[in-house]
Amino acid sequence: MTVFPRHRQHGAVLVIALVMLLIVTLLGVGSMREVALESRITGNLIEQKKLRNAAESAQREAERRIAGAESIEDCSMVSDIPCYHGKADTYDYDFSDKENYSGLDGLTTLERDARWYIRFIGGPYNAGGGGTNDAGNAGGALAGIETAESGSSFFYEVNAQAYKDGDEDDTCAPATLCLTSTTLLIKK
């Protein structure tokens, strides 16, 4: 009579259990990676929204300050706020001379830091906002606002940047968000 070798069967439980454990672990790790990816995407969207909100706040602050100003001069000549930093003749951003966002009340803070600066585009254009392609007055415009007649318009470029503390850069670095708009001041 042959003896059935019972002892040779005992290891199978361990092997099968290990295989099952491996499968379950792989499934778990897979879904965790998926969750991590989803949270990163969501986090990125949230960060973009925060930055956009902050940048828009800074931009609106600058636009309101321009709208409320009597006159705007070059920052190299005056220390009033708002003042502009040269003529807008390049596409590049340069936030080295900037105003930090403070809100019109000077007290508002944002979830992300924001700052802005203004550049001069052109003016004075006569009432009605110019009209011909040759309305530009490039040379004398830079110092013209005091002497310009009432009702003439001056155009300014507002650049705003929002950034997370530490990511800022004088140019528009990838981790920041920059906005540009054009606004005008009508001489009173």
């Binding site: 003749d89 596409y91 585009i121 052109g122 906002g129 009209g131 530009g136 054009t182 005008l184």
Partner: protein, 276 residues
């Protein structure tokens, strides 16, 4: 004497077998039902997700396009000088108009490029030869932007997809699975008054469009998702009193294909280049 049945050899009795089969068939019925419900729910959620995603994308695309409309390189120029009358691709712009309606689901817009990297809705960069080396065109010392090189885009609905056409290029599909598109225009008629007087779906030829409300109707690509429950959006073709939400909003009759999942999304934009 009966042989004593060995404990090791005892078989399954018929009663045991039938009880076991009865119990397990109930169990299998229940599990199958749960499986089918889960599958249906999954497909429904997939369809819903597809609609939500397409809807967001369509709204984002339209608002991005509209944000460009009316951009002029020299902010001091009035609109009628910066945008002379132009007719291309079935879009007949009068002077000063940057956005026009062509028909219910077709919209044309135009803008001057800000820089060489300005892309149109097909992703192509500015094709013209105007000098864009400086950001603004206000300098008398440089050649002015050539207004015949204004970028024009036509956004329209065709064959269930939102498409975009630019001059000299074939139209491309931007978002698919769209069953309806509706624009409502905020207009006034004075070029120099930056204000919306009223909203209308059919702006007159002299109206300046300054704001838009838009809705898209999305339909999921999978069939048989609604299980016989029709959406409130659909109108009933057999009963004129049952008017769906889409028809209430847009006046366009909508007879839904049964089993298709519909969703409508709406948004609005003010054309920033044409308003204060």
């Amino acid at each position: 004497m009966f042989p004593i049945p060995s404990r090791n050899q005892r078989g399954l009795s018929l009663v045991e077998l039938m009880v076991a089969m009865a119990l397990s068939s109930f169990l299998i019925l229940g599990v199958t039902q749960i499986y089918l419900d889960n599958k249906r729910n999954y497909l429904y959620q997939q369809g819903q997700g597809e609609n939500v995603e397409n809807g967001r994308f369509a709204l984002m695309l339209i608002s991005e396009r509209l944000a460009k409309a009316g951009y002029r390189r020299n902010p001091a120029l009035t609109m009628d000088i910066a945008f002379p009358a132009q007719s291309v691709d079935g879009c007949a712009f009068k002077e000063g108009q940057a956005v026009i309606r062509v028909d219910d689901a077709t919209l044309c817009l135009r803008y001057q490029p800000r820089d060489e990297n300005e892309t149109n809705c097909l992703g192509n960069t500015f094709p013209g030869s105007s000098d864009l080396s400086k950001p603004y065109d206000s300098d008398t010392t440089q050649a002015h932007f050539n207004t015949s090189e204004i970028m024009v885009e036509k956004i329209f609905l065709d064959g269930g997809a939102l498409k975009c056409k630019v001059p000299d290029q074939t139209a491309q599909e931007l978002v698919s699975n769209i069953a309806g598109l509706y624009f409502d225009y905020g207009v006034n008629s004075d070029l120099y008054t930056l204000k919306v007087n009223s909203y209308t779906t059919t702006p007159g030829p002299g109206d300046i469009i300054r704001a838009l409300r838009y809705s898209t109707l999305l339909v999921a690509s999978t069939n048989n998702l609604t299980q016989g429950v029709e959406s409130k959006i659909c109108s009933n073709p057999n009963n004129d009193d049952e008017i769906g939400d889409w028809e209430k909003l847009t006046g366009q009759t909508l007879t839904c294909e049964s089993g298709k999942l519909y969703q409508m999304v709406s948004s609005s934009s003010t054309l920033r280049n044409l308003m204060p």
